[in-house]
Symmetry: C2
Subunit: 411 residues, 2 copies
């Protein structure tokens, strides 16, 4: 039992945002059914892949879902998909998609089958143009403000941040719509675009105001934390650390633990600046960094890590992905969020469950992603309510696909 046990969500999706939304709901206990073509969705081979070409990305984004392989290019396949989306049940009739197709998975068509359908559709932009994380991000200005001060070249992020944000918004939108349905019995279409989710954040973070009210555009400032103090330092052993003094307490702690209080007081006087204020720390960050640099250059990570942790410094070490997996106990089975599980076709690997823990429910062990079509027969039987004979014919006709080595289930 988990917090959303009993809820059924159907997903028609590809790539990051909506698959992530469905996976998030599945890890909170919902029965999430994703349907794809028998040849796989557009993201079936998405990188990273194993040496055999199995998608580690697909495995990561579809954990705990049920997979139905349906030829939705055929009229019969479409009808069955609609049947699954609109199947009865007070906790069903929930649909998320970033592939809405006019005429058969748009809200007007689907809601004729189930009037109280709750659907969240994520689109690229409000004009119906294609847009992905990699095209939305450059338009908004973040890559031109990323990286070292010297360079005019944009630096794009590696984390598909807008997709991850929009994916979590799809979850919120669906839960809000279903909440509304519980109270009013009305269905709901929630519409969201990746571009709008991202553009809104420009305003939320104060960046539009910076441009419009202050007449400024933020420049590149390397790895400095914007607007207070935070900087990366190279240590004697070649490791690099990030140190943060956003709040006054963080600033005082950093100065105390590095023994730079006297130097910083002297600096305050010399600059005629109150370094206890965020604005002064930001303005004079280069001078502060100059004071701190020799301290880190004289020490290896092991010389101060415990000291920093005990004193409550807000800091961290930089790692490569491999170092993160190798040396961070939070990314290991020491963290109850993670478990080693067998992912069919991929092998055994460390796999995260839901980052949430809900009181009263133990943490669910993460479940693997399905093989494509793994649950075709059971979903056609239990959700679409087809007979065994009908299911057999659909498979024979290539409208539905169940991986061959699996026993036919009785309906």
């Amino acid at each position: 039992m988990s917090i959303l046990t009993g809820m059924r969500v159907v997903e028609s999706s590809a790539f990051v945002a909506v698959p992530l939304a469905g996976m998030t709901l599945a890890q909170m206990g919902a029965d999430v059914i994703r349907f794809d073509l028998p040849t796989g969705g557009m993201d079936a081979k998405r990188w990273p892949v194993t040496r055999d070409g199995q998608s580690l990305f697909w495995a990561g984004m579809n954990k705990g879902k049920r997979s139905v392989a349906l030829d939705v290019k055929s009229p019969r396949g479409r009808e069955i998909a609609q049947e699954i989306i609109c199947a009865p049940g007070p906790d069903a009739g929930l649909f998320i998609t970033n592939l809405a197709v006019k005429g058969w998975t748009d809200y007007d068509t689907l809601s004729q089958r189930r009037g109280d359908l709750c659907m969240v559709q994520l689109r690229g932009d409000r004009h119906g143009r294609p847009a992905v994380d990699y095209t939305v991000n450059p338009q908004l200005g973040f890559p031109m403000a990323t990286g070292g001060k010297g360079s005019a070249d944009p630096v794009c992020h590696v984390l598909p941040a807008w997709d991850c944000i929009a994916g979590n918004m799809v979850v919120s939108g669906l839960l809000a719509a279903e909440r509304h349905r519980l109270r009013t019995r009305q269905g709901q279409l929630a519409d969201l675009t990746l571009k709008d989710a991202a553009s809104a954040m420009l305003g939320n973070l104060g960046i539009i105001g910076e441009v419009q009210v202050n007449g400024e555009t933020r420049e590149k400032h390397g790895n400095a934390l914007y607007g207070a103090y935070g900087q990366d330092f190279l240590c004697a052993d070649g490791r690099r650390v990030m140190v943060i003094a956003l709040t006054l307490r963080q600033w005082k702690t950093l100065c105390r633990v590095t023994g730079t209080e006297t130097d910083m007081n002297y600096l305050s006087g010399a600059l005629n600046a109150d370094l206890d204020t965020e604005a002064a720390r930001w303005e004079h960050r280069a001078a502060i960094t100059k004071v701190l640099t020799p301290w880190f250059a004289a020490r290896g990570l092991a010389d101060f890590a415990d000291l920093f942790d005990k004193a409550g410094v807000t800091w961290s070490v930089f790692r490569s992905f491999a170092e993160a997996v190798a040396e961070d106990p939070d990314i290991s089975t020491a963290n109850p969020m993670f478990a080693e599980i067998d992912q069919p076709g991929v092998g055994r690997m460390l796999t995260p469950g839901s980052p949430f823990s809900f009181a009263g429910y133990g943490r669910d062990k993460p479940r693997p992603a399905p093989i494509l079509g793994q649950h075709t027969e059971e979903v056609l039987a239990d959700v679409a309510r087809l007979t065994d004979g009908e299911i057999g014919r659909l498979i024979d006709d290539g409208v539905a696909m169940q991986p061959g080595d699996r026993l036919r289930m009785a309906s």
Copy 2:
């Protein structure tokens, strides 16, 4: 009326994630009450600020909320805050925080006042150590995989992506907990850490598998889209564009519109590689880029923008923040998500509403952020059910603060 009208959420927070969560709920129609010290929260002066020192960040993150200024360092202030959090009502008793303090805003204490309280608490990491976006991100490996191939230096993201992701998860967690309460009448504590939200994404994106299964750590690869084809190009007019060929259709369209089909066919033959596959496009991205570079170098943005849009190319232009606000119609009142509103203390500026549109509800015009303590009197009267006399004494004693120029409301 909006999708969450009637719901009441109380927020004790600072900085990005939980303020963003409350703002998201407020823009979906919830009554969100944020309480802060009469001197302001830790983020009251967070940059960017106007030339007068008014926080544009605070204005962005607190739109549409009610603000209560309470001295929660005093016992009476704490009691009133608890009263507000636990006030009766079937759609109230919802609390989000990233500042949970043992003894007075922890779940055990609060749930004694209201047994069915639903609370989401966001913490730094599972050990109780301080952690912020700027320290979580370096640990996981993203900065070491960001930026140009040549450099060993990490490049930190400018968007606080993990905060934005975790903030949206706080919304989902609260809605899931309240859904559960509607069905079971039970309260709920949902616990989430910023570090876990971020670490889970390493697994979700397949990066842990890349390390564990393939024995590889992803290197820096500049602005190339990982695992398929996507690259930035400099145009004849000095503008830079991003072009994406993630799917086969995107690839075919890109080749057709740039007239490089023959060259790419020749390349496929010469490399003995099927560029119609993502893997081959990724492996041979440098050769593909070489073919495309002269095409962009010979043209200004205006020469191909319409052509690309009409052909459905997945592409975008790079902009600074100022250019984005100046030239993108999606970041203007031409987009119904945005409106020009007056933000007290800041002035008139373009402000985003909710990125969602829910069918049946028009888009709400964005509301400004409150002045600190703007709603102290009305919330003490309506939610904490104090008398006018009690409220007056609390203000006289400095336990509560209402900005001076406001008329006292009758309770």
